[in-house]
Symmetry: C2
């Protein structure tokens, strides 16, 4: 089968790899029909993260179950499914707590793990605890599938930011970052009932999409200027701040614009050199909560909204490629020509 493989910064190739097989009775093999390229894939693509030459890439799989092990009850061959960026057993303390990325059997897809979703097929360990089944009625509804695909990562991650920032009905929320996750954070804040949503970013086209997604105001500035604007808009800071980037500057902005006693939800993998923001959090008694999203925990509730038509993150896909076009997809993401790239293997 064909699979996307990492060969160093800027070098993603489609190569032949052995077909995956059932190895454990809890495995499933899924034929990938849709997957995506993630902003976090750019860390290794840009050489800011090291991986083994030959590592498999991609962590946002959707497809059709081909084969299941003897202990798999939750799905059957022929089912349309998607899976989060990490494997979860569904049975341990942390899965029971709804904290699947801390699963004691966790395994990441992509170069941090042993396999990748940008491929024709994928072996999914702990299929009962990992795979999310799309109801049959929507199993071949291309629009529904395209809107569900972001639930594998970025939509669930934006939701996690909003939940971690304690956004509730009537609140004012600030979303830092206008990438796919920030845009999904806007959708999530609106879905949770936020009254005002201030989206902060640097790209006019993305902030335009943020408005379509429900942002009531946008701030297109950097550093101190952005902070000042947000302070003015919020009369001294927001109680709910979604930090959707992970860069130090974004975290500093978040610490600066959070209101005393407020909550920062952060979901970008932190890339920090100094800890200056901590003193600011301290004197504001601001709460700082986040991490990898519990995609599996949020999947059903988000899927319900997608299928009933009240949530549609699909506009974040501004470019579609087939599997052979994956390398071109990385390039478009890297050049910021595309917000997010869908890989459609049935195309």
């Amino acid at each position: 089968m064909k699979a996307a493989v990492y060969h160093g910064p800027g070098d993603i190739r489609i190569e032949e790899r052995p077909e995956p097989e059932i190895e454990e009775p809890t495995d499933a093999v899924v034929r990938i029909t849709h997957t995506a390229i993630c902003g976090s894939d750019l860390w290794f693509y840009r050489g800011e993260e090291d991986h083994e030459d030959g590592a498999r890439v991609g962590h946002e799989p959707m497809g059709i179950v081909e084969e299941v092990g003897d202990e798999v009850r939750h799905v059957r061959p022929g089912d349309r499914v998607f899976a989060p960026f990490s494997i979860s057993c569904g049975e341990c303390e942390f899965c029971r707590k709804g904290l699947h990325p801390a699963c004691v059997n966790r395994e990441f897809l992509g170069p941090h793990g042993r396999t990748g979703a940008q491929a024709e097929k994928l072996r999914v360990p702990f299929a009962n605890g990992t795979l999310v089944r799309v109801p049959d009625r929507y199993a071949d509804d291309e629009d529904a599938l395209e809107a569900l695909l972001p639930l594998t990562d970025v939509m669930a991650t934006g939701h996690h930011a909003a939940v971690s920032a304690d956004v509730e009905s009537g609140d004012t929320a600030v979303v830092i970052g206008d990438g796919a996750v920030g845009l999904c954070g806007v959708l999530a804040a609106r879905r949770l009932g936020a009254e005002r949503i201030i989206a902060a970013g640097h790209h006019e086209d993305r902030l335009e999409l943020a408005r379509k997604f429900g942002a009531t105001e946008v701030v297109s500035a950097r550093g101190d200027e952005a902070i000042e604007e947000i302070h003015e808009l919020t009369y001294g800071g927001a109680n709910h701040v979604l930090e959707c980037v992970g860069a130090e500057s974004a975290l500093e902005t978040a610490a600066n614009v959070v209101r005393p006693g407020g909550n920062i939800g952060y979901v970008g993998v932190p890339h920090l050199e100094s800890a200056g923001f901590v003193e600011q959090l301290f004197f504001k008694n601001a709460s700082y909560t986040g991490g990898p999203a519990a995609v599996r925990n949020y999947a059903e509730e988000l899927m319900e909204d997608v299928l009933q038509g009240t949530l549609d993150p699909s506009p974040i896909f501004t470019k579609t490629v087939d599997l052979d076009g994956v390398s071109e997809g990385y390039e478009a993401m890297d050049d910021r020509e595309a917000i997010k790239v869908m890989v459609d293997l049935d195309e």
Copy 2:
């Protein structure tokens, strides 16, 4: 009147200063009867924090109201009162939210502000919002007063750590630090119903007091050894961690021993150089919350427990001096001869 004055590292002197007077109609003047020396006073005493030569020190005042301005209703001359380490108006958004240290009229006592509590008298701005009145029945009960004095700072701070760490009945809590705040954190966790309290520190005598205060286990080790012991005791980390020090090593320990999805409550002013712990918090989805304690918010509920005899932090005072002995008191704290020093001005 006499007041303790800072003249550089290691140099605290008792000097004559003008008697404070009512300057605003919301002021009160309090004759100090009891005050204390705080672990946080050691930052400047050790030269790790810079202040103006001649700055007034002390931030834990208890005494008798001498005079009040026209708009002061909450207290009258003759009342026994105590006050938090910071002034609060009682009327702004943050005071109403119970977040008095973020009061828009906040002013710190001690060298960060304009006056200090280690003195014969103190002018208290915003007396209605700041002063806590001790019920008349206990106003001259020396045992009660000694148990109430820590409510000006350390007991409320330990409580804030426990509340920020989300400690509830039946929980397992880890308390990092065996200073006065850590010991009060143990008391607070017990008071909130924690089932197991693991106190981690370096001093046998203090850990012995931690046991008396309710610690079910103590860990007397440093760095990796402490982390390993706590992991063993908690089968992989605690959901509730009270970080009561503020040093980078303590925060790293906290990040290491918190269980995935758990809560760190931190109350030591952070003194950090690197932000390595943030990545750990991220991958654990651990919450990090804290800051200066809302002493004024917690005062009544803690006072009730002290006066009914179910809470007694007074054993943290292992040395008592009079005002002329303040310098000796700093020395004893600096040498770790005393856990905490009480200054008894009526002695």
